[in-house]
Symmetry: C2
Subunit: 213 residues, 2 copies
DNA sequence: AGGCTTATTATACGCGTGAATAATTCGCGC
DNA sequence: GCGCGAATTATTCACGCGTATAATAAGCCT
């Protein structure tokens, strides 16, 4: 009997492949369809290999969760640092969060699948908390810099309230825009986001939204 | 061999029981753990009975999804109609959506589990769309009545923009408040919601939030 | 009271699951 | 260029899955 020929890959790229395959399977068939065999087939290896790189299927799922969340926040932060003023960075951060590739049905499916496991498995809860706090902190930093730039004095408590509200708005628009993508025109969501953020921060209409990119 | 003794229930209450058991299992073990056998055991019946009431497991899951969503919107609408003025009704609707029993970890788990299936199974997408539109419509109705009561003229397009933003904010706060429940004090979230809604609608600070209940 | 309908149980089936172990082949160090 | 350790495959295991079907008991109708 002929054994399959194969390539010995580096640990890093094998893990990467396996995680990517895991996400593919979850997105395509749901978490139910993300079985060891399906994932292995998608990655072009045999099932047993998974347990050579991960202690079990669960740990691979956790690694996959981290990957998804990291991808989302990194995309938004990367967009933000391109801006030259604090106002521009805040604006870019907001827009990035309600624009592809962050608003993507596939990403949403993956996100939801993991969220639904938070109450069941504490490991997932920890990963979530980690990412939530880091997102909130990024937002608060952008916000503080913006107020400073505007010479507007805002108390710490006020700033926290703003950050919570902004975070909720961004999350909600991301959710809404991704789930009902066909309901919104190309840039409708981004414009709505900026107008809403202006209102939340009690800015003049157009102060963020009318800005040239 | 002795056969188990049992009680013949009405169709309505059996279906109710089965759906409740389904939700229990999803909340407790995830959608993976919501197996026919687990669900049947939780409902106090044997597995075969499920297929006497539903064409298959999938259809039961869909019925369960409808139940969850109906529960959420009904709770919010029930809270709203208690209000005597349009302003009060809007206020109550907002608060109800970021207050128990709507903000509940269990509900969130269930919601997320179903959301993650929307991109996979069109039946779930249809249920989602149905509920999303009905929620948006409820919000728009409350909003229109409020503006009328306030003698404030708002174009239809403007009203839609407001509704989308409000919806996102409410969804986001619900998400945030439920996922990070321990981070927020008892009424912190509700207050934040009202302050944010005031800002979104460009109202005077306190116009909603300072109102007596 | 006793028969009929049917809700419910019990059991079987075929397939897929995650994990464990044994057997092989790859490719680097010498 | 070859041997040796490690990466990968192949195979096995015990179990759980959703569905299908036949046997049975419950309870309404007359």
């Amino acid at each position: 009997m002929n054994r399959r020929t194969y390539h010995r890959a580096s640990e890093a790229e094998r893990r990467e492949d396996l995680i990517a395959a895991t996400l593919d399977c979850i997105a395509e068939f749901g978490i139910q369809g993300a079985t060891v065999r399906q994932i292995a087939m998608r990655a072009g290896v045999t099932g047993g290999l998974i347990r050579h790189y991960f202690a079990g299927k669960d740990q691979m799922l956790q690694a996959a969760y981290r990957k998804v969340m990291a991808g989302m926040t990194e995309a938004a932060i990367a967009a933000a640092i391109e801006g030259e003023t604090a106002r521009s960075r805040l604006r870019r951060f907001i827009v990035a969060n309600v624009t592809p590739p962050v608003t993507d049905p596939r990403t949403l499916s993956l996100w939801a699948a993991f969220i639904s496991h938070i109450q069941i498995d504490p490991s997932f809860a920890a990963i979530h908390r980690e990412n939530y706090l880091s997102f909130l902190e990024a937002l608060e930093t952008l916000l503080t810099a913006f107020f400073t730039e505007e010479r507007r004095v805002v108390s710490r408590a006020q700033c926290r309230t703003y950050a919570i509200g902004l975070n909720a708005l961004v999350d909600g628009l991301w959710l809404e825009g991704t789930l009902a993508a066909d309901t919104f025109a190309e840039h409708e969501l981004a414009e709505n986001a900026l107008i809403s953020v202006e209102a939340l921060l009690r800015l003049q209409p157009g102060e963020l939204s009318a800005e040239q990119r």
